[in-house]
Subunit: 357 residues, 2 copies
């Protein structure tokens, strides 16, 4: 059986080479005769792999001194709580930009800790665009935004300018394009899109940003404690971190973030060109804010859904269903998705266009 | 290469059959052609596996209606915070028994939420015994204890009687022996000893125990939200849950908790009999409180450490080093450790005894 073209929105596709190594380690980790699932996280092999997973993030994003990289658990969802717990001062204030479900959830949790002000929102058009032209106040503990919105297929193609510390949820586009880490004070990302399987969350934080909230923070929610523990304050999610390390190593070996950005550029260009030229389909996101990671679209004639689905199935295309909250289709084109898979999808779209046109 | 005898204290040994299935799913999950690491957690296959992982806990422990079972992230360490956040009333009080490092950490986090009273401790003798004969007050939100103490090799062989709700950290001995769930109001366990790999935590909670604290709880720390979301409020740790499901299925297929308890009885009896009869070794835990999961011991003559280590290595025995805080040796005999491995260890102990005796 040939492998399906995997357009899943997340957990998303991982490189074949990584999966081969990941499966082997379940049977025999580093030639120990034991599975990676049944060895101590404090053994020298896994300590070395954790260090490698951390160093790869620093190398790939050219992170300067003064920043720490840690692996946590609980996904971006736990970060929605950890960010205000650590960074919003008692009696403090933070601003959030609302670009969809995940951004809204982050806002909801922040309200438990202080004044959360929503300074921008695209809710008026079902989050189909990225709000622009707003000013970020200067009396804030931080400003929070979500760089890519998987559900709606929107992405900040340019980052907002801010005089206050910037916190960003990059769960669904980190490592997909080059950017300047020094413009940010805290970045977090659930691994399960571009960097690994579900079960671990990577956080990049500027050290001097921490320890100022005046709150008593539970240990497991305190970034400083995890930094001091080198991501091993408690037992980490060993296997998710290991597979993330393999994926980042794959990225580095092939040429790094600038290399993958160029491939991602080609993939989205190929896809969106077809979307714009094929009258059988309608893109749902504002053109200038289109995501390179997740392309959302509808059939012009929704009654032809079964027909299109049949063609997708014949072409061995998987995971194209839109999020349950918006419907339609969504092509997720994460780092590990080959250009070839996008070509296959575009061919199906052409064929569908001919048939129904 | 024959597989080492794995006495690791945790993450601990998993059954061979489970590892074979777990590795296969990394390459091809349920014949989908895709890896379990790169598919949606909301796909029907994984939803079914999550349900199975939950149902197996209920079946194996004969859990009655009125209790919920959920899979979370963050290990027992995050439970140290979630327990008081959800269960200690504002202005409330809870009692803790201190039987070692993990129990102490739980106490530390509870103090952030209200009055934490330590009603028993074995700190006076480096936690080498389980405190007994104390009374549990009746004006408490709950009483918390740790059923098995991996670092010191002690275990509650009988559970304390309590008139207030009982919360128990069973991370290192759940599923190793039969017990009555209805005596408990909340049980939590990091998976990485008897039920799976690191990265997921299983919680059993009596539903009527929840929603009474009067606190505003962050969503990710709220048991009720995870129960309503059927462990998928956010993306779960897919692979750790999957491997836990396989391990629980293995346990059920072979005869369940009473079957494994009998094997665990034989393993500890074999080991402790040798320990007591061999003058080259000294057990560190009080005899009546000895753990069936972790047996801690010292060499009578510590200068012979290299000699003993050499014999262990020759016998292909792995993971016997004691915790860094206490030194010496620790034989962890979790569910998946075959009786045969204990026989091999006992043979090494006999040989060592003969050589140095």
């Amino acid at each position: 059986m040939s492998k399906p073209h995997n357009f899943s929105a997340g957990p998303g596709i991982l490189p074949e080479e990584v999966l081969t190594q990941a499966a082997a380690a379940v049977l025999n980790y580093n030639n120990s005769g034991l599975s990676i699932l049944e060895v101590s996280h404090r053994g020298k092999d896994f300590v070395a792999d954790m260090d490698k997973a951390t160093q790869l993030v620093k190398d790939l994003l050219n992170i300067p001194a003064g920043y720490s990289v840690i692996y946590l658990q609980g996904g971006a969802s736990l970060q929605f709580t950890m960010v205000p717990y650590n960074l919003m001062k008692v009696g403090g204030k933070a601003a959030y930009a609302n670009t969809g479900v995940w951004a809204s959830k982050a806002q909801k949790e922040a309200k438990l800790f202080g004044e959360m002000i929503e300074i921008a929102s695209s809710k008026d058009k079902n989050f189909s665009y990225i709000p622009k032209g707003y000013e970020i106040p200067t009396d804030l503990d931080y400003f929070h935004f979500t760089s890519n919105n998987t559900i709606y297929g929107t992405q900040y193609r340019n980052f907002p300018e801010s005089k206050v510390p910037v916190v960003c949820d990059m769960s669904s586009d980190i490592f997909s394009r080059w950017f300047d880490v020094t413009k940010f004070d805290l970045i977090y990302a659930g691994a399960q899109k571009n960097m690994g399987p579900a079960g671990t969350t990577m956080v990049i934080v500027k050290d001097e940003f921490l320890g100022k909230s005046g709150r008593q923070i539970p240990s497991m929610l305190d970034y400083k404690i995890h930094i001091e523990g080198e991501s091993m304050y408690n037992t980490p999610a060993v296997y998710p971190v290991y597979v993330s390390m393999l994926t980042l190593q794959w990225l580095k070996d092939h040429g790094g973030v600038k290399w993958i950005e160029e491939i991602n550029r080609q993939k989205q260009e190929l896809f969106y060109t077809e979307l714009d030229n094929n009258p059988a389909f309608i893109g749902t996101a504002s053109k200038e804010d289109r995501s390179w990671m997740n392309a959302c679209f509808l059939l012009k004639d929704e009654s032809l859904d079964a027909e299109f689905s049949k063609l997708l199935k014949e072409a061995n295309i998987s995971g194209l269903k839109g999020h349950r909250s918006v419907g339609g289709y969504r092509a997720s084109m994460y780092n590990a998705l080959p250009l070839e898979s996008v070509k296959v999808l575009v061919d199906v779209m052409k064929e569908f266009g001919r048939k129904v046109g």
